[in-house]
Amino acid sequence: MQPANLFLVTIVLVLVAYGLGYTRSRSLAMPLGGIRHLKSLPFYYGARAALWCGIPALIVLALWAMFQGKVIQLLVIGSLPPEMMPASEGEASLLLSKISNVASGALPPGFAEPPVVEAAERLTALRQQSRWYMTVLVVAVAVLAGFFGWVRIRPRLNARAQVESTLKWIFFACAALAVLTTAGIIFSVAFETIRFFGKVSFFEFFFGTSWSPQTALRADQVAAEGAFGMVPLFTGTLLISAIAMLVAVPVGLLSAIYLSEYASKRVRGVVKPLLEMLAGIPTVVYGFFAALTVAPFISNLAASLGIDASSQSALAAGGVMGIMIIPFVSSLSDDVINAVPQTLRDGSLALGATQSETMKKVIFPAALPGIMGGILLAVSRAIGETMIVVMAAGLAANLTANPLESVTTVTVQIVTLLTGDQEFDSAKTLAAFALGAMLFLATLILNVIALHIVRKYREQYD
């Protein structure tokens, strides 16, 4: 059975277990004189049986579904004749995709070597077997554990306490998933990054000024030696983010000030949702807009002024990214400005200051730490933004500060290195993970500082 169908079967079994547990508790209570002689309500006896039936079975199902693919791959590779044994991970993945293509019928068996065809047959058989074992095991676990939970129902059993503490543990596991996700991110990027530094020197990566990750795919291929200096990527990312912030900060901040201090309730009610619409537009749409409308516009404009501009200028990507970040800056600053106590405002106005003087000399300085926190969060957003730069910025790593030239960014390189044909242990692929690690670290540091500032600031006026 497919895992999805098996999941449904397990759910049905769980419902059956609930029903059986419920009726059993009632029938046990009958001779005692009704359910008031039970320790818990019949619902809890049913729920207890259902949990006994469902939890172990679903854990088995999840583990099996997670690991069966890998285990079958290893078994198939392991049973190949010694001369076909792949030497590296890259070869193994090529061979595996060939085998699975033969197995799925995408590649006619006549086009593959006999051992591959044999392996494909073994793959199909193993998949069939695995599905059988999984079905039998999951159903058996569900039935046995469910029976165990059912048979132990006694009138004196405190089913409610047991059900409630199990639920509590389930809730805890869900919350702990966040920790697991972070750990997963750290391990997946850290592991590959360490392998990357085994191939490319630490010094070259951080201080090298040239980036051209074209390494030879096969050992016998003639190709330029790759260069992995991340300085141009780093400056490119900074250039585009700086342009974005130059657009987003003044526009976002001024519109937040206007909306919170000057605008009437009606204007605010109309303008605020419209501004937030900018935040709801998918980044791929901004990328489309930047690449196909803004970039040609800028390069034509520059050409008509006699300036040379690239058709993938940093200005287009950065400017559009700035538009995307406007609502982010404005809503964060809006919160911060509103959190400044009214007494400060009243005091300043009472001394005869105009509204703009109050804003500039009293509220803004008071709100500054919070606004800085918001801006830092926006910067981290800009650094990690991917689709706009993938579509509108270039691929060539230029070390330049000219916004009319084409630059590339860390995120663009991650996407370029990891889409299309890849070999898993080549320096090229590992480089993407190393860049990912740098990106994660940079945004993490920015976020931690920003969240700290924002929280500190909130406490100040609470």
């Binding site: 497919q2 690991f67 693919g69 890998k70 409610r160 409630e164 509590k168 809730f171 805890f172 869900c174 919350a175 702990a176 998933l177 996700t181 972070t182 997963g184 991110i185 997946s188 990027v189 590959e192 901040l253 001024l254 519109s255 000030i257 206007y258 909306l259 000057y262 303008v271 619409m277 900018l278 709801g280 537009i281 791929v284 749409v285 901004y286 489309f288 807009f289 196909l292 409308t293 105009t354 509204q355 003087e357 969060l377 981290s380 990690g384 933004e385 991917t386 689709m387 579509m391 995120t411 991650i414 990891l418 889409t419 990106l439 994660f440 945004t443 993490l444 976020n447 931690v448 969240l451």
Partner: protein
């Protein structure tokens, strides 16, 4: 006396200056809002302007003489004959009859007005109804993409018209005769991707998106709500709880592409799951949207007043009963609103899906969670990178569909909030 007068004069002067500053400051604010809103307007106008023509298709209606001799086919039930038969000739002959002044010598130029797949359509019709052989049928075919572009964009400088002057004149005449017509482009909504722009559709991408969103929804909503309940109601005040909270807040701000790296390293390389399938896409998007859902669900739980809890506890409910019977139902509307907004974010997300291989060129509409698929935003990305303007046009149309989905999801969230949320 004069002293006071000059002082008043100075104040009056400075007041003027200060009021001017005040007005200027206000104008800056209005200008900023105007810039932001005009960007929004320009964006929408640009996309609608580029894409509205994608909702129109160009078809040609022909009296096709399905002549067995012309097609070298005498039995339409014979698979081998069907494979060898010439399905192009009857179409070319039918079109030649319609084109005024065209002769056999122009047959190649005339053939190029037809969609390259028109002959497949005739073959499929014959396969379905073998008795059509030897009859004359009125059939409607798609035109060649070049004709489609010419009909919709003649005179537009951005588009290059790839028809010869003579072909253009023919198309104009056929349009006048009503042989070539334009109508609503149902192809766009009933097919998957294609190399031929006029046959490319977004149905495959929409189905892929729905499958991916389904996985995301059934995983992230229960897990997010459970996590929020734990953190708000049960979590002890200790280091580990703090650690979980810090993690959630940070994950909410981690760039989405990092989740793509996680999916690639863990789901695909470690667990050996297949690439480019909705299941893996849904798992990655689940991890990405969870923090959003947890944060909004916690806010919803917090907004339930303590009096409800106290009343329930007062009549002897256990902590879990208080939460599940009283707090959760009251917080649910707020949780739903937050989840819909989180799902809208996930629906528009592209970058992590690129890394787990959902960028493949896929013609078939996916039919399961383990079938290769692409999603709507990735389809936009793929088409936007094409040098052919006909694809750009369809990318804009796909964006319009995507935005329509997003706007209706957000409208639903707002409606739910207005309808169900209680003010205490």
């Amino acid at each position: 006396m004069t002293d006071r007068n000059t002082q008043a004069e100075i104040i009056r002067q400075s007041l003027k200056r200060r009021y001017r500053k005040e007005r200027r400051f206000r104008a800056y604010g209005i200008l900023a809002i105007a810039i932001a809103l005009s960007a929004l307007v320009v964006l929408f106008v640009d996309i609608i302007g580029k894409g509205h023509t994608a909702f129109i298709k160009t078809t040609v209606t022909l009296e096709v003489d399905i002549d067995p001799e012309m097609m070298y086919l005498d039995d339409a039930t014979d698979e081998r004959q069907l494979r060898m038969a010439d399905f192009v000739e009857p179409l070319v002959q039918a079109l030649l009859r319609e084109v005024p002044g065209a002769t056999e010598a122009n047959r190649d130029a005339v053939r190029d007005l037809l969609n390259p797949y028109a002959s497949n359509q005739l073959r499929d019709a014959l396969k379905e109804n073998p008795e059509l052989l030897g009859t004359t049928q009125t059939m409607t075919f798609l035109t060649h993409t070049n004709v489609d572009v010419y009909v919709k964009h003649a005179g537009d400088e951005d588009y290059s018209i790839k028809l010869s002057d003579r072909q253009q004149a023919w198309v104009d005449q056929l349009l006048d005769k009503g042989v070539i017509e334009t109508s609503f482009n149902d192809v766009l909504f009933s097919r998957g991707d294609s190399r031929d722009p006029s046959r490319a559709g977004i149905l495959g991408a929409i189905v892929g998106s729905l499958l991916t969103m389904f996985v995301t929804l059934i995983l992230s909503f229960p897990i997010g709500v459970a996590a929020a309940i734990y953190l708000e109601e049960f979590a002890p005040q200790n280091r580990f709880t703090d650690f979980i909270e810090v993690n959630i807040n940070n994950l909410a701000a981690v760039p989405s592409i990092i989740f793509g790296l996680l999916g690639l390293a863990v789901f695909i390389n470690l667990f050996g799951m297949p690439r480019s399938v909705p299941l893996v896409g849904g798992l990655v998007l689940t991890l990405m949207t969870l923090p959003t859902i947890i944060i909004s669900s916690r806010a919803a739980i917090k907004s339930v007043p303590p009096s409800i809890r106290e009343a329930a506890e007062g009549i002897g409910a256990s902590k879990m009963q208080v939460v599940l019977h009283h707090v959760l139902p009251l917080a649910l509307p707020g949780m739903l609103t937050g989840s819909i907004i989180g799902m809208a974010q996930a629906l528009g997300e592209t970058a992590p899906l690129l890394l787990i291989g959902m960028v493949a060129f896929i013609v078939d509409v996916p039919d399961g969670f383990l079938d290769s698929a692409t999603v709507l935003p990735v389809q936009v990305f793929l088409w936007a990178g094409s040098p052919e303007l006909a694809f750009i046009e369809r990318a804009s149309a796909a964006i319009m569909v995507l935005l329509a989905f997003l706007i209706s999801m957000n409208a639903l969230a707002i409606w739910l909030r207005k309808r169900l949320e209680r003010r205490w």
